[in-house]
């Protein structure tokens, strides 16, 4: 080792490289990153460094060689023995690549290595055959080359090149060896000759007919794919022999360089294979498809490029080939499932097996397919050029020509891999579909932001998107126009819950599931609003994929509203059987998708019409740009926006779309891929102006229709009025009849809780004026909370009015609404009762009862009469007066409250509500308005938890009023002065409390509606 002084690091590097190469060659592992490769490398190094073998012993090796020689002799392999002896001796006496000396340790170590690797020669396995083969091979190696050189010189004047002659010189140098070899192997000569004849046979026959051969050579493509090494006639110029020159250089600089077995092809062949690869051909020679991966065959070479250079160029192409292959695979995959219906999304695709790709994928596939058709057309044209041979076409020219296409392929692949390939296999269709659409949409926006630089890309993506979105728009169209959400593959973001029939109360809330949550929280809220909570089981709480078809986001609400409204409407209309009319009308209706395309088209054409000048191209463009810019700017200024950049972009948008409609107006509805002009500087704007208005229009149409139908045919407004009439007692006379009969009963202390009595009273009262409502109204009574019942004001608790609202109006007036109505109803009843109780009291009653004790007493003792009467009359008169006063105060209070609630609250809020109902655009809005109305009156009637203390105070006063009325009726005798005083003070306290609270609230301004109540109560205060 001492002699290996020179730079260690370099030596080590070389060693490392050699060991890696060795492993690659022996194990066949090509990828260095492969863990197995690393394992092998570690194994090799540890063996080299930490072995337990002795150093090479030259004597031992000599002995072994001798032994093998003897073995050959013993086996009577004399010729082999002779060659063995000769070869080993020759080797030991020659110098090695880096060692000039002979018979060094290195020599012995190499021999030792070979001996170790050999299948022990003494073994009986070591038979004739390998020996013969070896010798044969050896002969091939020497003689073949040697003789071929000779033949070529004879044969082809067109074959030789200066370089090859150099090569032959090199090989001439090898001649001594060959001759020596041939000298040894005298007995093999006949065999070689045979071989030689076989090889040369056909050539010789061609020699006889040179015309036919040259014709064929000119007209038939050489079979380069058979990998038979051959020489192709080519120029003798140095430049077209770069590969050979480079080979020569390597050969002369590296003694161990062994030229690989290479297949020579022409550049034309490479170009054609490139074109084939890009057009989706899988079985090629230069490009190999291994496990779905396109690779470049290793041993391909053209004469004018070095191997590495060619390889690097081809590897780039192979990458695009890979993309084509992957996309083609997707197309085949989708096509394979739907071979019957080549037009995806054409409306009626029969339902297939569960794995059948859904319509969005089919549409996407169709868009890709169309793209590839045009791409292939381009490729074919290039190939035709090559075949015609009339223009110069090189690989570089082809790659350059295709570069925009290749860039598009890259984009397509990016979109495809994020939108389709990377989606985990068990994903639901809805997620896949919306993910794909989202990816496209995002890609468009992304490239759109780049501006002019990516116009081509944007237009490509836009056309893809327009195609892909077709099923979605058709689904939307079907839903908002016909009312059924027809989505067999379950790919639409909204899906119908099967278990809810249309004519069910829950229809509006629980019918559809919105399968989308976007990244933003606002949409989650939206989802909660629209999608039903009850149908949540279908969605499952499991890993929420954040998907949302972004482009539908702005109109999602409208779509949902319109869809639901339409479905409802359809069902309402069904009863009226106008289906055939609708069908007839539908025949000449344009689908949403068509409308969308037409709008896009007209939007893009508009710019062209406004700039019809014909000047030289550039000038025209410039002038138009300036003109458009000024127009756009003016427009923007109208909206108070000063943004010159925006104006320029507007202008550009209209200019660049000039060729759009030419390609578009071929009667074909679908936007051609070549609609390059659709620059989407304003992609969202395009959507806004081309898609959303149609949806909006349909939304307004069918929601308005539904509102009309509900209001007209289903008398929604009348039902709302009925609710107010009965629950909110707006039908005063009717309800008066009803409640006074109850109050009278209570006053008489008779039982009134009897349900049949209550219902009879109700029917009688309602039947007179609202006969149609009387059948729907009923009243029930349930006993509640006896603890509370002690207070007279709570006697009425438990009375529940119910109104049977027919479908579909019960969507608006739901049971929950009726509960709120009932709460207000009860409060009103309590106030009315207090008011009634106070109203019916007669002054005479009290006066009469006041006189009775006086008469009694006068009978008992006349003498004391004057004295006693005088002493008693005074307090009785005072008592009566105080009771009169108290009564008036209570009446004032109750009347103020009554007025406040009946006029200020119920009536004015009711008027507002009526206006809003008239203006409501859709059912959801109507429902919301109704709820808002109910919650408003609920709040203002002080029924909310938060203000319960106010309500309690009021209840106390009402209670006082009722107790007072009871006492009044019982007569003065039942009264003690103290109880009157207590009542007075209680009332005063409550009154004070309420006035203070209300004033505070009014001053704070938080409840402006309370002002009137506060004022009137204040007025009562001042008097007292």
């Amino acid at each position: 080792m001492a002699r290996l002084v020179p730079s260690w690091t370099r030596l080590d590097k070389q060693q490392e490289r050699d060991v890696r190469e060795l492993i690659r060659r022996v194990s066949g592992l090509q990828d260095e990153a492969d863990p197995n490769f690393q394992l092998a490398l570690n194994f090799a190094w540890s063996n080299f460094r930490f072995h337990r073998f002795l150093d090479v012993n030259s004597h031992k090796v000599e002995k072994t060689i001798e032994g093998i020689y003897e073995k050959f002799i013993i086996h009577s392999d004399l010729s082999k023995a002779a060659s063995w002896k000769k070869l080993t001796e020759e080797f030991l006496n020659s110098s090695l690549p880096s060692i000039k000396e002979i018979k060094t340790d290195a020599h012995y170590s190499i021999l030792s290595l070979l001996l170790c690797l050999s299948d022990s020669p003494s073994n009986s396995n070591y038979v004739e055959t390998p020996r013969e083969k070896e010798v044969e091979k050896k002969d091939d190696f020497d003689w073949g080359k040697y003789l071929m050189e000779g033949e070529e010189i004879d044969l082809g004047p067109n074959v030789d090149t200066p370089n090859w002659s150099e090569d032959s010189e090199e090989e001439d140098a090898q001649q001594p060896l060959s001759r020596e070899d041939s000298g040894i192997q005298v007995d093999r000569t006949p065999l070689e000759e045979q071989d030689q004849n076989r090889n040369l046979g056909p050539r010789v026959s061609w020699k006889d007919e040179p015309d036919g051969r040259s014709w064929l050579e000119q007209h038939v493509v050489h079979q380069y794919w058979t990998a038979r090494p051959s020489r192709i006639p080519h120029s003798l110029h140095l430049h077209s022999n770069l590969a050979a020159v480079w080979d020569q250089h390597l050969y002369s600089s590296d003694p161990l360089y062994v030229p690989d077995d290479r297949v020579f092809v022409t550049e034309t062949q490479v170009i054609r294979e490139t074109l084939w690869l890009l057009s989706g051909v899988k079985k090629l020679f230069i490009f190999q498809l291994i496990d779905g991966k396109v690779t470049v065959r290793n041993n391909i070479i053209v004469t004018h490029l070095t191997h590495n250079c060619l390889r690097s160029v081809l590897e780039q192409i192979a990458a695009y080939g890979q993309v084509v292959f992957r996309l083609q695979e997707f197309i085949d995959e989708v096509m394979g499932h739907s071979s019957e219906s080549p037009l995806p999304g054409s409306g009626s695709i029969p339902k297939k097996s569960a794995e059948a790709p859904f319509r969005t994928y089919q549409a996407f596939m169709w868009a890709l397919y169309k793209y590839f058709i045009s791409f292939k057309k381009e490729l074919t044209e290039i190939e035709k050029c090559i075949i015609n041979n009339d223009t110069t076409i090189t690989l570089a020219i082809v790659v350059d020509k295709l570069s925009p296409r290749l860039a598009q392929l890259k984009v397509l692949h990016k979109v495809f891999s994020t939108g389709v390939a990377e989606v985990p296999p068990d994903t639901r269709n809805v997620v896949r579909a919306s993910h794909l659409l989202n990816t496209l949409y995002k890609a468009i926006l992304e490239y759109d932001n780049v501006g002019e630089a990516s116009e081509q890309t944007v237009s490509l993506l836009f056309s893809l998107w327009v195609e892909t979105v077709r099923p979605y728009l058709q689904t939307v169209d079907e839903w908002i126009v016909h009312g059924h959400l027809w989505d067999s593959a379950r790919e639409f973001i909204i899906q119908r819950n099967k278990n809810v029939p249309v004519n069910h109360r829950d229809f509006w809330y629980a019918t559809y599931t919105l399968y989308s949550v976007s990244e933003k929280t606002e949409n989650e809220e939206k989802m909660n609003d629209n999608a039903s909570a009850s149908s949540g089981s279908d969605q499952g709480p499991s890993s929420r994929q954040h998907t949302m078809v972004s482009f539908l986001k702005p109109v999602l609400k409208q779509i949902i509203m319109a869809g639901k409204s339409m479905q409802l409407l359809k069902n309402l209309r069904c009863a009226e059987s106008t289906a055939c009319q609708v069908a007839a009308r539908d025949a000449d209706r344009k689908s949403l998708y068509t409308l969308f395309l037409e709008s896009v088209q007209s939007r893009l054409r508009r710019g062209e019409d406004s700039t019809p000048q014909v000047l030289t191209d550039q000038q025209a463009t410039k002038e138009n740009l300036i003109k458009m810019q000024s127009i756009a700017e003016r427009h923007l200024e109208l909206d108070d926006i000063h943004d010159p950049l925006l104006a320029i972009n507007f202008a550009r948008l209209y200019l660049e779309q000039s060729d759009f409609h030419e390609k578009f107006s071929g009667g074909d509805i679908c936007v051609d891929r070549s609609s390059e002009s659709v620059t989407c500087q304003t992609f969202e704007l395009t959507l806004r102006s081309c898609l959303y208005p149609h949806i909006d229009k349909q939304y307004l149409d069918c929601c308005g229709n539904l509102m009309q139908t509900l209001k007209k045919d289903y008398r929604l407004v009348e039902y709302l009025q009925a609710m107010r009439n009965f629950f909110l007692m707006e039908g005063g006379d009717t309800m008066y009849d009803f409640y006074t009969s109850i109050f009278d009963k209570i006053r008489e202390k008779e039982t009134w809780q009897n349900v049949s009595f209550l219902n009879v009273q109700l029917q009688e009262a309602v039947g007179q004026r609202y006969p149609e409502d009387s059948s729907r109204l009923s009243i029930s009574f349930e006993n509640v909370d006896t603890a509370k019942k002690k207070l007279p004001v709570h006697t009425l608790d438990g009375l529940t009015l119910s109104y049977k609202v027919p479908w579909p109006v019960d969507i608006v007036i739901s049971l929950e609404c009726q509960k709120i109505y009932n709460q207000v109803f009860l409060l009103l009843l309590q106030i009315k009762w207090a008011k009634y109780s106070l109203d019916v009291l007669l002054f005479g009653e009290l006066a009469n009862t006041a006189e009775k004790p006086h008469l009694k007493e006068s009978l008992l003792s006349e003498q004391d009469t004057v004295a006693q009467f005088g002493s008693q009359k005074e307090p009785v008169g005072q008592q009566i007066h105080r009771m009169f006063l108290l009564r008036v105060k209570l009446m004032h209070f109750v009347n103020s409250l009554h007025n406040y609630i009946m006029t200020r609250i119920l009536h004015s809020t009711g008027l507002e509500f009526q206006h809003q109902v008239e203006e409501a655009k859709d059912l959801d809005q109507l429902i919301k308005i109704h709820y808002r109305y109910l919650s408003t009156i609920h709040d203002r009637c002080l029924l909310r938890e938060k203000v319960s203390f106010v309500k309690e105070a009021i209840m106390k006063v009402l209670n006082l009023a009722l107790m007072f009325a009871e006492g009044w009726q019982a007569g003065l005798g039942a009264w003690q002065m103290e109880s009157i005083e207590k009542m007075e003070s209680d009332f005063k306290n409550c009154h004070m409390f309420l006035v203070t609270i209300l004033n505070k609230a009014v001053c704070r301004g938080s409840f402006p509606h309370l002002e009137s109540l506060a004022l009137s109560l204040m007025a009562g205060m001042e008097q007292s």
Binding site: M1, L4, P6, S7, Q14, Q15, D18, V19, E21, L22, I23, R25, V26, S27, G28, A40, F43, A44, N47, F48, H51, F53, V56, I68, S83, W84, L87, F91, S94, S95, L96, P97, S98, I99, K100, A106, S109, I110, L111, S112, L113, L114, L115, C116, L117, S118, D119, P121, Y126, R131, E134, K137, Q174, P176, L177, S252, S253, P255, L256, V258
Partner: protein, 70 residues
């Protein structure tokens, strides 16, 4: 016949001699049925020249072959 300035780099005049040696060596290798091809053989020669123990090398090659077959 100038001296090589380092391993693997020799003057071209030496080339033919080296190439002859390699040919001889290839013949020996074939004669012994080692199963080595030209490239592998030249790698082995380089490694041996650099002092790698031949027996260790052969054992590595055998093991790798075994592992590849398995």
């Amino acid at each position: 016949m100038a001296t090589g300035s380092g391993p693997g780099v020799s003057m071209p005049t030496n080339l033919n001699a080296v190439r002859e040696t390699m040919d001889v060596l290839l013949e020996i290798s074939r004669n012994l049925n080692t199963g080595l091809d030209v490239e592998t053989l030249s790698i082995c020669v380089r490694l041996c020249e650099q002092g790698i123990n031949p027996e260790a090398l052969s054992s590595v090659i055998k093991e790798l072959r075994k592992a590849t077959e398995a």
